[in-house]
Structure formats: structure tokens, C-alpha cells
């Protein structure tokens, strides 16, 4: 059970949040121009990284805001949190 620092509400228990998968996969602006392969890439294919991963979370039981987290999936340590639309604070 993590402690997640919601960028709006502060430190909260993981139970207040939901995970939303890999971050920075933008929905294609013109889906109809994509091949089936390219669409499948957006829809299903994931990096599923072991190590430092950028991912989306939402404070479901709090402010309902989505934000991004940088987390090491090999040990679950959260390294940084940043708002939607912001650049990742660490590389």
C-alpha cells in the first residue's frame, strides 16, 4: 500500500486512488488516418516497463483529478508526481 502525494490534496493512502496505466500515450488526433497496426499500437501495445515507469493515476476518492507518477515498478518506489500536461520533473 503506497502513500501517494496527490499534487492537489497532498499525501494520501493508495486506497483513495486508481491506477490508469502507462502515461504519455496520447490519443491520436486523426484515428481514421491510421493503419490497423498503428491503431492497435495505440489501443493495446504497452511498454510494461520493469524499472522506472511513467504512469497515470487518479485521486478517485478525493479530488477526482488525474495526474502522473514516476515509479520504479521493480520495487514500487514513487520517485516523482506531476500534474497532467506538465513535463516530467526527472528524466
Amino acid at each position: 500500500m503506497f502513500i501517494i502525494h496527490c499534487p492537489y490534496c497532498g499525501e494520501r493512502e493508495q486506497s483513495e486512488f486508481k491506477a490508469g496505466g502507462e502515461a504519455h500515450i496520447s490519443r491520436p488526433k486523426q484515428p481514421s488516418e491510421l493503419s490497423d497496426d498503428q491503431w492497435a499500437e495505440y489501443l493495446f501495445m504497452r511498454k510494461n516497463i520493469k524499472g522506472v515507469q511513467y504512469e497515470r493515476w487518479v485521486h478517485t476518492h478525493g479530488c477526482r483529478k488525474w495526474f502522473n507518477i514516476i515509479r520504479d515498478t521493480s520495487n514500487d518506489q514513487i520517485q516523482a508526481v506531476y500534474k497532467m500536461g506538465e513535463k516530467p520533473p526527472i528524466k
Binding site: 503506497f2 490519443r27 491510421l34 490497423d36 491503431w39 497515470r56 488525474w66 497532467m84
Partner: protein
């Protein structure tokens, strides 16, 4: 007549309070403060259990939670029975009843004991190698294996006790209230940290509190009395919370810990009713100080498991803390100095010690000198090679160790005894530390694993950190705490410590014997009967890793989770394979540290509170009118309203008919409602629904279908345009929360440029739907000043109005195909409006109907129910709802997926109507549909999703999916049931009023 082995009054035992208890049906007495183990030992009872595999007689071996042998069933055949309780942990109380497990007919005479004689053919993993012939017989063998396995018996009735949870957020958590924990608690609390100190025993002070010897002194007082004063002091500190009888079970990441607080297990049964039995503490600590101490190691030699063989420290504890002698003729066997502390204490209490066997050759310390002074015979450089006595040890044989410790030399000496204390040195209790993700390092000089790297803000102190002697503990603690807590002073800087402890130790994991290993039974895991030769066998067969050996031999898999034997298993592997201990790694210590009651983990989330229930504003009315309820998600929905013992079928037929013939009324409050506002609201709806929204007039309603990005139907509902930039969307009952979540996701992450706000208003409104040919008349009575003419208020539109000064919104929308009005009113007025409708509708036979009738009515009209007629594999095209998929819109969620090669295929399954040849035959929902039986396996074309007997059409109707169904209209198909085949015809899914005349009738 049993003997009384009480030796001396102990301040920890209340000898004025005699407690009577039963063991295996016989009554015994102990004192308040006794554990079951100490009380049994005081009555000279050692044999309490039989082992798991060989059913060997076993006795009490330890004085704590590491006990492998002495596990009993409490209160058997009652609702409070509990299997596998450690006699060393349970405090006795008046009326306690304990019995031995895993033996028949009794612990004294156990038929299963025959396994001991069969043991030559039952080596580790024997079951993998046999019971394979004949093939069909495994389950017969298995029946007997299962019967003989298991330990105690599961309760067979529900638990009368209640449990509770508590979240605790603290600055500093200290686990273990031995001398280190007590000192740490005082320092942390005095420095202003909100501190929590947890101790599994019912007293503070650990092993030091009963250390009463001139060899161990702090500031010139005996260590025990010094600590006693410290304890009295910390009890007065305000920001320190102390929990005894509380055991930390799990140490998870981010300093999240679970602990079990035991509240009533020490009370007589009759005092427990209505009280919380155990509380699960869910602890978030900013900092954790682990002070869990260490466990004494046994020694591994032939027949080291007999009743009467205990850890030396346990014998000391029984004597010093409980005032009980474990035997009258005691022998100690050791490889280090701590047995001499036991010897000194026993001597002081007048308990005789026959001999001390020490496997070290050259030893010298004040403690040893004291034993010599007390004329105790010490065999230096000797080892035990065997023990004797079936149900209680009666003698041992010893031999001299060779210089290198690899074998025994000389001749055997036999020494009689009735109790043997063994001491193999100490193992730091690093279980919780490793659970938290901490990494260990191996210290060669005394062969222990100690904490190395910490994964979170935590520290280990005292003997769990490998500081075994008083001077080490006290000199390190101050420095460690200053650094860890970021403080300048602890107050413990200048303690004067006096100790006498020689740290020398001769560590031999498997002691040599005069027999070959294959002939010995040197137990490593006592409970599971895993021996040194089993480990050797595993290695011989190619199992190399500790995890493999553990699984093959079951070492460490018992209820004690290998607290005593795991190190030895590792040591023996290391000795045999020649690999270094530090490189072998350890097995993972998995939570919980000690077994955790299911009820405690669950807390109050049982029965009524197992899951949340949601109720509509009219719920009480439904209850009063005898509705049957259906669970829909967390909602309780009225399912049908049986009248005078009506069957469900009859009730639904009656309700359905009334809704079409006159009027029906439905509680639709559970549908999700989302308030959508903003200048981009129309554009937003264009993107989330398959159809177009910009041109919807203000005041009008429209049905919408929502897809997942994979093109599959996700949710549906009617959305109403209240204003230029204001809509209210309805969702399915089950989909409400996920739809809102999904819409927020798109809004915040994909389309942040849109000016749209979403707010759930599901609970704000009561939704009362009145349908049927008489609905208009009824509504006109309920809301007399509302113009209900079709011109003013046509189908698919809404009006804001008032009922007796209370604002409400009426929508003319229909899920039944009948003319319908849906009143949305603030929830707290809902019941009143409902009753008003009932009153107004009385003359028209207004009939309340539930979800089942609603399903029937909509099926007559061929309307789908998302989740019943769809299963996340259907596109709108599959549903034959092409009309709702906008071709003009550039994009909407899921659009692209509709144009993939396999989602465009014509031979996908499509929604069709099904009519049975026999109009009275009702299909089973879920039944499969086939065209012919010629192929094997039979090709299934689809399945029935909805099926009812329609009282309005007087025939059975069904909806279903059929491969290529849209081009099969009129074709005959077969529904193959288990015992018959039902002929059906593919039909239009709209069975009733295809022209929608009834909407305006």
C-alpha cells in the same frame, strides 16, 4: 498423581489466583499469569502433541511464538474452538479447555505413530515417486493422505466473536518492548514524537526483565530492576501509546504495518460476549524502529525432538518468569555461553543440573566459572549423539568431538536425565525487516544474518540487529537513535554496564554422529518432521537452491514458518554443498510473522457490512409493499411485487400487462445521472457518443450509445439538453461510476481544452417513471398545471415544473414503448411524489413494477440492456443499431475500432429476435443456438440473451446473438437443451408496436 514443579514464587505469577483448566479432558491448576505451557510444565506434563508426518511424541520446546511442537486445539466442538494454538502463547483462564491434535485415539497412544516405523520408506518427497499405479487410484490414496494430514480441526459453526479495525498514524513505531524497545520508546516519546510501542507478550521488558544476576548490571542495579524502573517511567509519557498482547504481523512497503491486538483471548469465555476479540491495527509510521530481539537456536543431532528437550533459554524463562522447573534432572547442551546463564539461574532456584555438555574445548568466562563453582559437571568438547525415551527423554549418550568437529571419537557416555536444554546460539529476528524489503548480510564470526540495507525510514536495534550482549546493546543504542531520530541527546549516553559474557561460539550446523546420516533422525523442522537426511537427499537429487530444498523437504512450511530451523537448513546445505552461507541467500520470510486470524483481517466487514448497500428514496415504500429485491451493483432494486403468494412469473405477467393496459410505475432512481455544463458541452457529447448532438434542440432528449475505444458497446442512456450549454446525461445503474470516471479521464487528459464540467447528481433526484395508456391522465392529476398535450410536451422532451412549490423536471421518455413520463424530483420529496402518483393512479389500476417487468417490457420492444444483451464483444453494428452510428462525425470514442478487418466482417454475431415454434415454450437465457448437428463439435452460432413470456403478445419472445443473423430473418434454428431440442425462428427483435404508435396513444 502429577507432581508440582513450582520452585519459587515469581513476581510475574499471581499465586493467590488459582486457575483451573482442562487438558485432554483432565482438570489441572495453574496460576494467573501462566501460559498453558508453563501451567502444563508445572504439572510435569511434557507430551502434548504428535508431529505432522511421523506422529512422533512431542513436547513443549520453547516459551514463545516460535514454538513448533506444542500446538493444541482449544475448546473443541464449540463455536469458539480454534485449531493449532501454541501452548506457549495462550494465557490460561478459568475454564480453558485444550486438547492434543493430530493423534487418535489419544496423544499417549496414537495409531498414526506407525508412520515412525514406516519412515524408512517415507523420505522427503516420497509422494512424488509413488501412488501412481494404478492411474485411477490416486484419489483413493489421496483420501487417506488428506485424512492423516492437517493438524487441528476447523470450526464448524460461525464465529460468535466480533473483530475491529483501527488505522493508526504515528511518527515513530517501535516493535518489541524488550530493553531496546523500551529505551527507544522513551527517547522517541520524550523528544516529542507521537510514538507507538508494540509488544506481543502481556508484559514489557522482554528477556531482560527477569534477568536478576550480579553478572548483568546497569548503573549498579541488576539489569532487570533497572529496566523495571524505566518501564514505570515510560508508562507515564503522554504521547506514547503502549500496546501489549499485540503482535506485528506484516511490515509492508511505505512503512505500512499490520498488527493484531488481542483483547479477550485471555479472558474466561463467559466474559467475552459483546467484546471485541481482536483488533487489526493498520499502522502508518513515519519511522519504524524494529526491536524484535532474537531467537535461540536448537542444536541438530539424532533424536533431538523428544518431549523434555527444550531450548535452554526456555528452561530459564520457565524457571525465572513462571517459577516452574521443567525437570528434576536437567542437562544443558550448548555451543555458547548463554546456557551457563540458565545454569546459574536454575542453581539459584534449587533446580538440579546433572551436567552441561559444551561442544567447545577451551572456554572461560565468569559465568562458566560460576557453574564450575557450583559443582556442575561440564563435558567440554563433547556432543550428544543420541537421546532415549519415547514419550519423555530419560537419558542421553555423548561422545567427544574430533578437533575439526567433523566426527565423534572415543567411547559413548550415557547420562540419565528428564529434561535437556539445548542452546545453539542466537538468530536475530529479521522476519519483519526482510518483509519490508530489507536486505541482509551474513556475519561470519557468529554465523548470523543481520540487517544491511533499509528500504524505508526504519532501523533495527538490539539483538535483532545482531547486538547480543547487554554492553553492545546499550552502547549502540544511543548513537543509533540520535542519528535516526535526528536528536542531540538520548539521556542514555553515560550508562555504566557490567556484563559477563564470552562471545565465543562453536557453530556446527549438523552435529556429527557415530551413525551415518541416513540412519539418524536429526530434526531441522520439528513440526513437519524434516530431518538433516531429508535435506541431504534433496541435494543429492539435484535440488540446489534453498527454495527448492525447502519445498521438496517442506522445511519451514509449518505453522511456525521455520523460525527455529530455517538457519540450520541453510547451514546444512552450505556444509554439504560447500557454498558459503552468505551466497546461498535466505528463503523469503512471508507475512504474517505469526498466523493471523481471518476474522481479524476482515474486522467488521462481515454480514450487514460485507458490502455497502445503496437505497433509493422510495426504498421503504417498496419494502412496505412486499417487493422482492435484486442486487444491481451495490443497489437494492425492487425486482417484482408479489401479491398474495404469487409466483415471480405470475407477478411479472400481471405487472407487465397492467403497464400496457393501463398504467405502471417504476422506481428508476438508480440510473446514473451526470450534470454536464460548459460552452463545449455539445462538442463533448459528440466525442463520447456515437451519434450527433450539436443540433439537439433545447428541451429535447436523445438516446445515446457509448463505446469503449475498442469499439465495443459500453453504456447507453438518454441525455437531455436543458440549455445551450447544459445537459443532463443518464447512464445505466451499474455503469454510473465508471462512465463518469471515463468521461473525466478523457476530459482531463485528452481534451483539457474543452470547457466542460461534470458533476454527478444521481443521488440528488428521485426518478419516478409512470408508463402506460393512462399515464397522461395520472400525471395531469399529480401536476395539474402542466400542459401535457402532445404538441406542448411531445415524446423525447422535458419540462421544468413544480409540484406543490417543489421544483421538479418531467421527461417524456420511454424504455417500455408505452407513453411514459419520468418525474425527477429532489430525493427527499421522492417518496411523497411516488405516493401521490399511486393515489392518482388508483382508479387506473396503477401497478408498481420492478426490474424484471421492466426487462420484459423493453424486450417486447427489442431494446437492449447493456450487460445483459451485450458482453463487451458487441459493436453497435452487431446490435443492428447502425442508425445510431454517425457517419458524418469525424471521430468519437471507439469509432476507429469499428473499421478493423475483423470488426467489419459480415459474419459476426448479430442481435436478432427469436420466436419459439411452440409459443408457450420459454427459452433459457444463456442457451446456445445452432443450425445443425452434423458437425462435431457442434458449431454454436450464438446464444439467447433475454427471454420472456410476453403476456401482451401471448407468446414467448427472446433476443439473442446469431452469427450472420441479420441476414437470416425467418430462418429456422435450434436451441439444443440437455434433454431436448427447441425449434426457433429468427425474427425482427422488435416484437411489439414497430411503428411506435403506443408512445402517443
Amino acid at each position: 498423581m502429577t507432581k508440582n514443579l513450582r520452585v519459587k514464587t515469581s513476581k510475574f505469577i499471581d499465586e493467590t489466583y488459582k486457575v483451573s483448566f482442562k487438558f485432554n479432558g483432565k482438570t489441572y491448576y495453574g496460576f494467573k499469569g501462566d501460559t498453558l505451557a508453563s501451567a502444563l510444565l508445572a504439572n510435569d506434563i511434557h507430551l502434548v502433541a504428535r508431529s505432522f508426518k511421523y506422529h512422533r511424541p512431542r513436547g513443549i520446546m520453547t516459551a514463545g511464538s516460535e514454538e513448533p511442537n506444542a500446538i493444541v486445539q482449544l475448546h473443541k466442538n464449540t463455536s469458539r474452538t480454534e485449531p493449532n494454538v501454541r501452548a506457549t502463547e495462550i494465557e490460561i483462564y478459568d475454564g480453558l479447555e485444550a486438547s492434543s491434535q493430530n493423534c487418535w485415539p489419544s496423544v499417549n497412544f496414537d495409531i498414526g505413530g506407525i508412520n515412525n516405523f514406516l519412515s524408512p520408506v517415507l523420505p522427503a518427497g516420497f509422494y512424488y515417486k509413488t501412488f501412481m499405479w494404478p492411474a485411477s487410484f490416486w484419489e483413493k490414496y489421496e483420501y487417506f493422505i488428506r485424512k492423516s494430514a492437517g493438524l487441528g480441526k476447523s470450526p464448524s459453526t460461525p464465529d460468535p466473536d466480533i473483530y475491529e479495525h483501527r488505522y493508526i498514524h504515528c511518527d515513530v513505531l517501535i516493535i518489541g518492548a524488550g530493553i531496546s524497545g523500551v529505551m527507544a520508546a522513551k527517547v522517541a516519546a520524550k523528544n516529542g514524537f507521537k510514538t507507538l510501542l508494540i509488544e506481543e507478550k502481556n508484559y514489557l521488558g522482554g528477556e531482560t526483565i527477569y534477568q536478576d544476576s550480579e553478572h548483568f548490571k546497569i548503573n549498579n542495579q541488576t539489569s532487570g530492576s533497572w529496566l523495571d524502573k524505566e518501564i514505570n517511567e515510560i508508562k507515564k509519557i503522554k504521547n506514547l501509546e503502549i500496546k501489549t498482547r499485540t503482535s506485528v504481523a506484516a511490515f509492508h512497503g511505505y512503512n505500512f504495518l499490520l498488527a493484531r491486538e488481542n483483547l479477550t483471548d485471555h479472558l474466561p469465555i463467559e466474559q467475552r460476549n459483546g467484546k471485541t476479540r481482536q483488533r487489526l491495527l493498520k499502522i502508518r509510521a513515519k519511522k519504524v524502529i524494529t526491536a524484535t530481539g532474537s531467537l535461540e537456536r536448537p542444536l541438530i543431532f539424532d533424536n533431538n525432538d523428544r518431549p523434555g528437550i527444550l531450548l535452554s533459554s526456555a528452561i530459564n524463562k520457565y524457571a525465572s518468569l513462571f517459577g516452574v522447573a521443567c525437570g528434576e534432572k536437567n542437562i544443558l547442551f550448548t555451543n555458547n555461553d548463554s546456557a551457563y546463564e540458565t545454569a546459574a539461574n536454575l542453581f539459584k532456584k534449587g533446580i538440579s543440573i546433572e551436567a552441561i555438555i559444551d561442544n567447545r574445548e577451551e572456554i572461560d568466562s565468569k559465568l562458566i566459572k560460576e557453574s564450575e563453582k557450583n559443582n556442575i559437571k561440564i563435558y567440554k568438547g563433547y556432543t550428544i549423539v543420541d537421546t532415549y525415551g519415547y514419550k519423555r527423554i530419560n537419558k542421553i549418550s555423548i561422545m567427544q568431538l574430533s578437533k575439526d568437529g567433523q566426527k565423534v571419537v572415543g567411547s559413548k557416555i550415557l547420562i540419565p536425565c528428564d529434561c535437556l536444554g539445548i542452546s545453539g546460539g542466537w538468530t536475530p529476528s529479521v522476519h519483519l525487516f526482510t518483509q519490508s524489503g530489507g536486505k541482509l548480510k551474513f556475519r561470519d564470526n557468529d554465523q548470523v544474518f543481520i540487517p544491511n540495507t533499509y528500504p524505508s525510514d526504519q532501523i533495527s536495534i538490539g539483538s535483532c540487529n545482531g547486538d547480543f550482549t547487554l554492553d553492545e546493546i546499550l552502547s549502540n543504542i544511543s548513537k543509533t537513535l540520535k542519528e535516526f531520530l535526528g536528536i542531540n541527546k538520548t539521556g542514555y549516553e553515560n550508562l555504566e554496564v557490567q556484563t559477563s559474557f564470552n562471545k565465543s561460539k562453536r557453530n556446527i550446523w549438523l552435529l556429527p554422529s557415530d551413525k551415518i546420516v541416513g540412519k539418524t533422525k536429526s530434526f531441522v523442522d520439528f513440526q513437519n518432521d524434516a530431518t538433516a537426511k531429508d535435506i541431504k537427499l534433496a541435494l543429492r537429487e539435484g535440488f540446489r537452491s534453498i527454495e527448492h530444498v525447502k519445498r521438496y523437504t517442506t522445511t519451514g512450511m509449518g505453522t511456525d514458518q521455520g523460525k527455529l530451523g530455517n538457519m540450520h537448513a541453510l547451514g546444512i546445505i552450505s556444509e554439504i554443498s560447500g557454498s558459503k552461507m552468505g551466497e546461498l541467500g535466505t528463503t523469503t520470510f512471508r507475512p504474517p510473522y505469526t498466523p493471523l486470524t481471518f476474522g481479524t483481517i476482515v474486522g467488521r466487514n462481515v454480514g450487514e457490512y460485507f458490502d455497502v448497500y445503496r437505497k433509493t428514496p422510495m426504498h421503504d415504500w417498496h419494502v412496505k409493499n412486499k417487493a422482492k429485491f435484486e442486487n444491481v451493483g451495490q443497489w437494492k432494486r425492487a425486482w417484482y411485487y408479489p401479491k398474495n403468494n404469487e409466483s415471480m412469473h405470475d407477478a411479472v405477467q400481471r405487472e407487465s400487462k397492467a403497464a400496457r393496459d393501463s398504467a405502471g410505475i417504476l422506481d428508476a432512481s438508480t440510473l446514473g445521472k451526470i450534470d454536464i455544463q460548459g460552452t463545449d458541452a455539445s462538442e463533448f457529447l459528440n466525442r463520447v457518443y456515437t451519434n450527433a448532438w450539436s443540433k439537439l434542440d433545447i428541451g429535447k432528449c436523445r438516446y445515446g450509445l457509448m463505446l469503449n475505444e475498442d469499439g465495443m458497446v459500453y453504456d447507453d442512456g438518454v441525455t437531455t439538453r436543458l440549455n445551450e450549454n447544459h445537459y443532463i446525461m443518464t447512464t445505466t445503474t451499474g455503469g454510473a461510476a465508471t462512465v463518469l470516471g471515463k468521461l473525466e479521464d478523457y476530459l482531463q487528459t485528452e481534451w483539457p481544452e474543452l470547457d466542460v464540467y461534470l458533476t454527478s447528481v444521481t443521488d440528488h433526484y428521485a426518478t419516478i417513471s409512470v408508463c402506460g395508456p393512462k399515464s397522461k391522465k395520472i400525471i395531469s392529476q399529480v401536476i395539474p398545471n402542466l400542459d401535457l398535450s402532445d404538441d406542448n410536451f411531445p415524446h423525447m422532451s422535458f419540462k421544468d415544473t413544480k409540484i406543490n412549490e417543489i421544483k421538479c423536471r418531467v421527461m417524456r421518455i420511454s424504455f417500455t414503448g408505452e407513453q411514459s413520463y419520468e418525474i425527477n424530483v429532489q430525493a427527499n420529496y421522492g417518496k411523497s411524489v411516488w405516493e401521490k402518483c399511486m393515489k392518482a393512479g388508483k382508479e387506473f389500476n396503477i401497478t408498481p413494477y420492478g426490474t424484471e417487468t421492466m426487462h420484459l417490457l423493453r424486450a417486447e420492444k427489442g431494446f437492449i440492456i447493456v450487460g445483459q444483451d451485450t458482453d463487451a464483444t458487441m459493436t453497435p453494428i452487431d446490435l443492428q443499431m447502425n442508425w445510431i452510428v454517425s457517419k458524418k462525425k469525424y471521430d468519437f470514442i471507439g469509432k476507429r475500432s469499428l473499421y478493423r478487418s475483423d470488426t467489419m466482417r459480415d459474419d459476426r454475431k448479430q442481435l436478432v429476435g427469436l420466436l419459439t415454434e411452440n409459443p408457450d415454450e420459454i427459452l433459457e437465457e444463456g442457451a446456445q443456438i445452432v443450425a445443425n448437428f452434423n458437425k462435431s463439435p457442434v458449431e454454436m452460432l450464438g446464444h439467447v440473451t433475454s427471454s420472456y413470456y410476453s403476456p401482451n403478445l401471448k407468446k414467448s419472445i427472446a433476443l439473442g446473438f446469431v452469427r450472420g443473423g441479420k441476414n437470416m430473418m425467418g430462418q429456422k434454428l435450434i436451441i439444443p437443451m440437455e434433454n431436448k431440442k427447441i425449434n426457433v425462428t429468427v425474427a425482427d427483435p422488435v416484437f411489439l408496436d414497430k411503428e411506435n404508435k403506443r408512445l402517443n396513444a
